[in-house]
């Protein structure tokens, strides 16, 4: 039986293209064929850019034929979350507000991927303006989980995660404000990394909550994750929060040993909300690490219990300001009937934003108004510092922190609307990393009735190296080699 190309990892594809075993165009055609056969069911994409993809793939083949150098991602089909600006390609944030927005500029990460010769397949679905955990708040369509299309893919980077899991792209970029890369990665059985704040430029990422937003890769495995991370990191003068550091090649140390490495298991993350299958999978995972010679110890992160509340106040506050620029005046949706500027702005926003977005804007405005500023917002920021301190303390003794990514596996489509509180509990394992700015990765670690379970590893600031090495060690020593049977 001929092995379908879309089933391979990007690392394997890269080797084959470099060795001239296959052409970039063949890889692209195989991927497009896969999209054609499963996209109706999965609905990962909002925009497909076949022409751009063919143009690039042909160019790469020509360069390889001429023995010219190609970039690190040469010929690899990729997808980008629709809140990352792509020049001359529709960037809608899955909102009516930006349904017609074609940016005249590109996000730095997209430029970097193009420089490494990635092949742009299209823009993936997401929760509207990245607000949600199921990709159901998208204005355009509902994405489904490739493992079971009655389930959600997670969110808000649900389209990116489902595209990678379904073989519709070799990797995708997502954005993570409170877990929006890791949670869908966990639900879709793929690898998702939220890098340290400041490592990857946010320029061109349509902000949800600026101090919490991160861009990161969603890939089939850890090696691919390192490969994409290599391509997108680096100081960017266009992002005032970007950090100047020496560049690291994450592939170099990826397959190193983890003997003697210290892993912290915070008891607050193994509470009664955790579903039994998830707990079981994680306990088995801890066993794997111990067998590899790592030291796993229970610890406490006492301020974790406030993380959700703090996250909601800070993120909603920032949302209320980040979205203030959508007024219908310079770009995007504009209401048709209005008598004056005030009405123009009012009706535009009223028509353009969906209910989830409106709720958060109203709440965020509330947290900042009058005395609430001191009562909620300032307090939330103080607790945020304590959460950071918790992690600093742990990291003075441990190399990584191991937790579940989500309390359960993927839930039913349509169930999140009525169970919004339950859903918030699902988010609770991922938000702390965003509040602290530390790197965190989710990798598959088991199954619950055929649905993937994710394990989260958090690391020290800018220590993605260790994080990836630990994740890779787990991957190498376990065999979770299923694929969704679409």
């Amino acid at each position: 039986m001929k092995l379908e190309l879309y089933n391979l990892s990007m690392y394997e594809i890269k080797k084959k293209i470099e060795k001239k075993e296959i052409k970039a165009v063949e890889v692209l055609e195989s991927t497009l064929k896969r999209i054609e056969s499963v996209e109706d069911k999965v609905q990962s994409y909002l925009t497909l850019t076949k022409d751009i993809a063919f143009c690039k793939a042909n160019e790469i083949d020509k360069r390889i034929a001429n023995n010219e150098a190609i970039g690190e991602l040469g010929g690899i089909p990729m997808a980008i979350k629709d809140n990352i600006c792509t020049e001359e390609i529709l960037t809608t944030c899955a909102s009516k507000m930006l349904h017609n927005f074609v940016p005249p500029y590109s996000a730095t990460v997209y430029e970097k991927l193009l420089m490494e010769d990635g092949v742009m397949l299209g823009k993936t679905n997401m929760d509207e303006f990245a607000m949600g955990s199921s990709t159901e708040s998208s204005f355009h369509k509902k994405t489904r989980n490739p493992w079971d299309i009655s389930k959600v893919p997670g969110g808000s980077s649900g389209g990116s995660a489902s595209a990678v899991a379904a073989g519709e792209a070799f990797f995708a970029l997502g954005s993570d404000t409170g877990g929006s890369i890791r949670q869908p990665a966990a639900f879709c059985g793929v690898v998702g990394l939220k890098p340290t704040y400041g490592l990857v430029s946010r320029y061109g990422l349509v902000a949800m909550a600026n101090s919490l937003d991160h861009i990161g890769p969603i890939t089939k495995d850890v090696t691919d994750c390192a490969l994409v991370l290599n391509a997108i990191i680096g100081y960017d003068s266009k992002d005032g929060t970007s950090i100047k550091r020496d560049k690291i090649d994450y592939l170099k140390t990826l397959n190193g040993e983890i003997k003697g490495l210290r892993i912290a298991i915070p008891r607050e993350y193994f509470d009664e909300n955790l579903s039994e299958p998830v707990r079981k999978a994680l306990i088995e995972a801890i066993q794997v690490f111990e067998n590899l010679g790592a030291v796993c110890e229970e610890v406490s992160l006492p301020n974790t219990k406030y993380a959700m509340a703090v996250y909601y106040i800070i993120s909603q506050t920032e949302v209320s300001l980040a979205l203030a620029r959508f007024d219908g005046i310079r770009y995007g949706h504009r209401a048709l009937n209005y008598r004056n500027i005030e009405e123009l702005v009012k009706y535009t926003r009223s028509e353009g934003f969906g209910p989830e977005v409106k709720t958060r804007i109203v709440l965020g405005t509330h947290w900042l108004s009058g005395d609430n500023y001191k009562e909620y917002y300032q307090k939330a920021n103080e607790v945020r510092k304590l959460i950071r301190l918790d992690f600093n303390n742990i990291f003075s003794n441990y190399d990584v922190v191991l937790t579940p990514t989500s309390a359960t596996a993927a839930f039913e489509l349509g169930s999140s609307q009525e169970k919004s509180l339950a859903r918030q509990k699902i988010d609770k394992y991922t938000v702390a990393a965003n509040l602290a700015g530390i790197p965190a990765i989710s990798i598959p670690c088991g199954f619950d009735k055929g649905l993937p379970i994710g394990m989260q590893l958090m690391g020290k600031n800018f220590d993605e190296e260790t994080l990836l090495r630990v994740a890779r060690a787990f991957e190498r020593n376990t065999s979770l080699d299923h694929k969704p049977s679409l």
């Binding site: 940016p103 061109g204 005032g240 300001l321 203030a324 959508f326 310079r330 108004s369």
Partner: protein
Amino acid sequence: MSIRTIIGLEIHVELSTKSKIFCSCSTDFGSTANSQCCPICIGMPGSLPTLNKKVVDYAVKAGLALNCNIARESNMDRKNYFYPDLVKGYQITQYDQPLCKNGFLEIGQGKNIKKIGIKRIHIEEDTGKSLHTNQDVTLLDYNRSGVPLIEIVTEPDLSSAEETKEFLESLRDILKYIGISDVKMEEGSLRCDVNINVANENGKSFSNITELKNLNSFKSVVKAIEFEENRHRLLLQEDKNTSKETRRWDDIANITISMRSKETEYDYRYFLEPDIMNIALSEDEINKIKETLPELPRDKRERWATIFKLPEYDINILTSFLELANFFEETMAYYNSPKKLSNWIMTELLRRLKEEEMDINQLIFTPKDLAELLDLIDKGVINNSIGKKVFMEMFNGEGKPKIIAEKNGWIQIEDIKVIDEVLRGILRENPHSVNDYRNGKDRAFGYLVGQSMKALKGKGNPQLINKVLKKLLEE
């Protein structure tokens, strides 16, 4: 009952950096609408601001010149309100941690020196501009969006329109001197809001503060203050308090008009700007900026009055901008008559510069050249009117004054024989005038001097001509 006026100012100054505060767009004034914009300064989704370090330097410079404490660490905030020319729905500014605090500026002379407190100076971005056409259409120009501003807030230490004017003029001179703004009120690079109220001397009763907006010239500042002062006094005397409100000055009707009541002040929901990291300034950086500060106008005037002993009028003109003051001082290094130099600069030099629409920095000749020219005149090598001709040539880049004078044959004729001979000729040709003079008509003498000068092609030594002419006429 004696009533005291209390005035505090909020002054917005546009900084003259080449690029905007958060992007690299140009800040040039007067360009085609929306020609100086990019995704960042029109707040497109995904764009991020990065702070122009020059803006911080400029604001610190202002702070140091105004005797402020400079914050070693500060940050930026978002000020939220909706307006179509505000691109992000918020303005990036500084709220609780301004860059500069607690300074002062002195006005008045001698015993009447008064310290006006500077509460704070902070940096912020300007907004775009709405243009309303008469077809009831609103057009938006975002060229100004993101132009860097400093806001200077004074303590309520001013007590009259006169003082306010003096303060603003002094402030304008300083800001221009330190090179951070061109401070042109008519181009909007200096905008002033006035907070004013009155109180009786014991401070027991006072009127509510009025905020005066849209003042676009020093003249309107003075007139609006005088108008408000009167209005408040009358109200206070009649025991009718004013309401706390914002008013605007109507330049045509010469009155202030209420815009809105202050009570309905907007909740700006200030919030820490997450896209810009804290502004940290080291001692070293602050000292480096301090070193770039020139001597300020007030100090310079005092020093000049002592060492050059020039009239106040001259000093005020010569110190009105830094380049001119520097030119004067550099010339004085080679020359020793301040008043004569002052006269030359105020008349010849400034007039020529104005005619040619030139900047003093564009001068081709050096201060040393000008000193040499004045020296030639003083030594009688050329006379004053030839000196002006030489000056023109120097201005046009023809070279050193001595060489110009020699090349053109303008060196003064000192040879008494030559003069004697020429003058005799003139007298022969003008018997009529000679007669007139001998009949007591003094005017004829002037005519003969003029004719002699003409015959000598302007090069004759005027004193010598006078002397010889008198002698010949009396023969």
